[in-house]
C-alpha cells in the first residue's frame, strides 16, 4: 500500500514534530490519576489497556494523535463508571461546578472550587 494513494485520513506520520509528552497540564493529571488508581489496585493494567484501546481505535481518533489524551480521559471516566467508583452525572455536575468557579475567579488568581457561587455538596 502506498501512502500517497491513501486519502487524507491516513495523514503523514508526524515525524519531525516531537511535542512534549503532555501538551497541557490536565493531560499530565489525567495520566497520573490513572497510574495512581492502578497502583491502588482499582483496576488491572490489562483492563486499562482495553478501555483505552476501545477509545483510541474508534473512527474519530485523529491521525496526528493530538486528541490522544482526550480519548484517555474518556476511557478513564468510562472505566471508573463501570467499576462503580463514580457516576457520570456526578462528574458532569462537578465539572460544571469547576467551570462556574473558573468564571467567578478574578483573572490571574488560582481557580479554586471554593469560588463556585453555587457550590454542590
Amino acid at each position: 500500500m502506498s501512502r500517497r494513494e491513501a486519502n487524507d485520513h491516513a495523514a503523514d506520520l508526524p515525524l519531525s514534530v516531537d511535542a512534549p509528552v503532555f501538551a497541557e497540564p490536565w493531560q499530565a493529571e489525567a495520566f497520573a490519576m490513572t497510574v495512581a488508581l492502578h497502583d491502588k489496585g482499582l483496576f488491572s493494567w490489562g483492563e486499562w489497556a482495553q478501555a483505552l484501546s476501545s477509545q483510541v481505535k474508534g473512527p474519530g481518533a485523529a491521525a496526528d494523535g493530538h486528541d490522544y489524551y482526550e480519548h484517555w480521559l474518556v476511557a478513564l471516566e468510562s472505566l471508573l463508571v463501570s467499576k462503580g467508583l463514580t457516576a457520570r452525572a456526578d462528574v458532569d455536575a462537578m465539572a460544571e461546578a469547576w467551570e462556574r468557579a473558573a468564571h467567578a475567579t478574578p483573572h490571574g488568581k488560582p481557580i479554586l472550587l471554593e469560588n463556585d457561587p453555587r457550590p454542590i455538596r
Binding site: E29, F31, L42, W45, A49
Partner: protein, 201 residues
C-alpha cells in the same frame, strides 16, 4: 480546543472534567493529590530514554549482561533499578546483521515506560499503529531509515503485559568506549526500532 481567553478565567471542558474527577476521587479517599504531583514530576523529568540507553550500553559492553538481558529482560533491567509500574514483563529484541526489529502497539499505546519514558506522539497516533505492521519497510523509509532489501524486519506488537526494547547493533569504531559514552549513541527511536544507533562522530 485550548483557546486563550484574556478577558476571563475559563477552564476548557477537558480540564474541568479532570478537576472534577480529581475532586471526586480525592473526597472518596481513592487518590492523594500530592501523589499525583509526584507521578507527574517523575514522568516529566526523571524517567526517559536515558534509562534504556544505559541498558543498551551495558549490553554492548558486558556479554554476560547481554546474555541475561536476552534470557530475562525483566530481571536484567530491574537490576539497574528501572522497574515497571504496571507489573509488565520486558523482552529485549536484538538487531542483527540479518534482522531489524520494530516495536508497535496496535492495540493502544503500550510502551516500556520504565526504560523509555512516555511514548512520542507519533507512536500513539493511528497511522503508525496501523501501518507499522502492514508496511514496516515503508514506515522505516519515512523515518529516513532505508534497510537493505534482504534484511528481515520483525515487528513486535506490545501488550499491557509484555513490552519490548530494541537493542540496536553497536556501531563500528566504538571499541573500548565507556558505557556512558556508548549510551550517547542510543536514541529513543533506536530502541523503538525506527532508527539505528548513531555513528560515532
Amino acid at each position: 480546543m485550548s483557546h486563550n481567553h484574556d478577558h476571563d478565567n475559563e477552564l476548557d471542558p477537558f480540564a474541568a472534567r479532570v478537576r472534577a474527577l480529581e475532586t471526586i476521587l480525592t473526597r472518596k479517599g481513592l487518590i492523594d493529590p500530592a501523589a499525583i504531583d509526584v507521578i507527574v514530576d517523575t514522568y516529566e523529568t526523571r524517567i526517559g530514554p536515558r534509562n534504556g540507553a544505559k541498558v543498551v550500553a551495558k549490553a554492548w559492553s558486558d556479554p554476560a549482561y547481554a546474555d541475561w538481558l536476552r534470557r530475562d529482560a525483566t530481571a536484567a533491567i530491574e537490576s539497574l533499578s528501572y522497574t515497571g509500574r504496571q507489573g509488565e514483563h520486558m523482552q529485549a529484541v536484538f538487531n542483527t546483521e540479518d534482522t531489524h526489529n520494530l516495536v508497535v502497539c496496535t492495540l493502544c499505546s503500550c510502551y516500556p515506560w520504565s526504560v523509555l519514558g512516555l511514548p512520542p506522539v507519533w507512536y500513539k497516533a493511528p497511522p503508525y499503529r496501523s501501518r507499522a505492521v502492514i508496511d514496516p519497510r515503508g514506515v522505516l523509509e519515512e523515518f529516513g531509515l532505508t534497510l537493505p532489501a534482504d534484511k528481515k524486519i520483525r515487528v513486535w506488537d506490545s501488550t499491557a503485559e509484555l513490552r519490548y526494547l530494541v537493542v540496536p547493533m553497536r556501531p563500528d569504531g566504538t571499541e573500548g568506549w565507556s558505557e556512558e559514552r556508548l549510551a550517547d549513541l542510543v536514541s529513543r527511536d533506536a530502541m523503538i526500532g525506527t532508527a539505528l544507533a548513531r555513528q560515532p562522530a
